[in-house]
């Protein structure tokens, strides 16, 4: 099982509900294929940075799934065939995350190996605090 990020751009010609239905279709394909859906976020109707098939907006839908490669390939194939999906992107997310975790750990190790810093010199903060109790004592 590998972690994937999948984003689909659904045609703006549909209504909000219909766009949700299209997303649900792909959710079904994924889960029927044995994928575990980690995140399922509709990003809503967004303006495109550039027109795609003369459309200036699209419904974005984001999935993060833990799945076998074959299922993701199948989902991508269907998205490609669909007229309702303007564009899609499916990329692996686990490689980056794993690498990030590893390098974070390496840094922690490095920090642990470094000799501890000498304690910071105490700032002369105490004299400023000292007079206050006396004032309080005088007022009460």
């Amino acid at each position: 099982m590998r972690l994937y990020d999948i984003v689909a751009l659904v045609t703006p010609d549909l209504t909000d509900e219909d766009a949700q239905k299209v997303a649900a279709e792909y959710r079904k394909i994924l889960s029927d294929g044995g994928a575990e859906i980690v995140k399922d976020e509709p990003w809503g109707r967004r303006r495109l940075a550039f027109p795609i098939l003369r459309k200036r907006e699209a419904y974005y839908h984001y999935f993060q799934v833990s799945a076998e490669p074959a299922i993701v390939a199948e989902t991508e194939r269907r998205m490609k065939l669909s007229d309702q999906v303007l564009r899609h992107l499916a990329v692996r997310a686990d490689l980056e995350l794993k690498r990030a975790a590893k390098s974070a750990e390496r840094q922690r190790e490095k920090a642990a190996r470094r000799p501890p810093r000498p304690p910071a010199p105490m700032l002369p903060a105490t004299p400023a605090e000292a007079p206050q109790p006396i004032e309080k004592g005088g007022s009460s």
Binding site: A58, Y60, Y62, E96
Partner: protein, 96 residues
């Protein structure tokens, strides 16, 4: 082979500016730090449009390392992140 000359001349310039004010224009160059290293962001998220936008100037091109100060490792990650974001129209390929 040592990186000393750059840092040395820079600090000298800063000192001169501070003392004399000078006829020539000296400006203290801020040392550029890789944003991702500074904030300990290991992973450049291609979904984070706001972050990526800060590395995209007016024209829509990827801001070069020599200007942004991003380290080589993170520039590479940023590059792939921007390209991914472009492919799903989160970010423009080019603007005019």
């Amino acid at each position: 082979m040592s990186p000393a000359p750059r840092g040395g001349s820079r600090s000298a310039a800063a000192v001169r500016e501070g003392k004399t004010g000078g006829r020539k224009k000296f400006f203290v160059r801020r040392r550029k730090v890789c944003k991702f290293c500074a904030e300990k962001l290991e992973y450049v998220d291609w979904k984070d449009v706001k972050l990526l936008q800060s590395f995209i100037p007016e024209r829509g091109k990827i801001l070069p390392r020599r200007i942004s100060g991003t380290c080589a490792l993170h520039q590479r990650k940023l590059q792939t992140a921007i390209k991914r974001a472009r492919s799903i129209a989160l970010i423009p390929y080019a603007t005019d």
